[in-house]
């Protein structure tokens, strides 16, 4: 079963084709994992922001939500950059919605680095309309 002369080096040339595909596969898995984990983190940050906003007065909602979102994202480590936070209050004053957008950090992923777009997380939380002292928070 000695390889004939024509076959010599064929495994090497096949590798030239296969290795880039295998490496891309690994990078793709890393990208998928990172995107999945980051989108969970962004949604969690939106939840935290909405919850924090629902506990304060209307005036302080935007800054409180933004701080909670950024703190939570910082706590999750890595994830994303260019974070923007939007806080909207339902006209009835019963619901606060926080939406978070940021760009996935794709450093170290080589050719797949530029393929990822923006991560979004939206969360709403009910505002207690009547507080303990009977004051309508509006």
């Amino acid at each position: 079963m000695r390889p004939t002369t024509v076959d010599r080096g064929s495994a090497t040339s096949e590798m030239v084709l296969v290795v880039p595909v295998a490496v891309l596969l690994v990078l793709f898995v890393a990208l998928g994992g990172r995107a999945g984990e980051s989108s969970t983190a962004v949604r969690h940050a939106a939840d935290q922001g909405a919850r924090a906003a629902s506990m304060v007065s209307f005036d302080r909602m935007p800054e409180t939500a933004e701080r909670a979102v950024r703190d939570d994202l910082a706590r999750s480590g890595h994830v994303c950059s260019d974070t923007s936070v939007a806080v909207t209050v339902d006209p009835s004053g019963r619901l606060v919605t926080v939406s978070v957008e940021c760009t996935l950090d794709t450093g170290g992923l080589g050719p797949l680095g530029s393929t990822m777009g923006v991560l979004r997380g939206v969360s709403s939380e009910t505002i207690d309309r009547y507080r303990a002292d009977g004051v309508d928070p509006r």
Binding site: G33, G36, T40
Partner: protein, 117 residues
């Protein structure tokens, strides 16, 4: 002859990919368990808060098919509570870490006078 060298290298690359995926999954499970336990801790009061939070984390990890590496750490301050969950990562490659830890922090449910909100 070349195949003997090249095939293991190729399999190694594929194993690295699998290991990354498995690790991300374990990290996701840890994140979910920590968030769940922190929510339980934030919404409860009393002496056994820590143990119910711990149980919530354990249930979450069990339901997700994972395995805890150590007992979840629950800490409660005045305003916030935090839970750290460490989950085992199945090891396909000998030199990678076999655990991943994620922490979640929640504000504790409490009465805040209107003036302080």
């Amino acid at each position: 002859m070349e195949t003997v060298l090249v095939l293991p290298a190729l399999l190694l690359v594929l194993l690295v990919g699998l290991q990354i995926a498995v690790r991300h999954h374990a990290a996701n499970v840890a994140t979910g368990a920590a968030a769940r336990a922190a929510a339980v801790s934030a919404a409860s009061a009393g002496d056994d808060v820590a143990s119910s939070a711990r149980r919530a984390a354990e249930d979450f990890v069990t339901n997700a098919g994972g395995r805890l590496s150590s007992v979840p750490e629950v800490s409660r301050g005045v305003e916030t509570t935090s839970v750290a969950v460490t989950v085992q990562v199945p090891r396909l490659l000998p030199w990678v870490s076999d655990r991943v830890t994620r922490t979640a922090v929640e504000p504790i449910e409490r009465f805040i006078p209107e003036i302080e909100r």
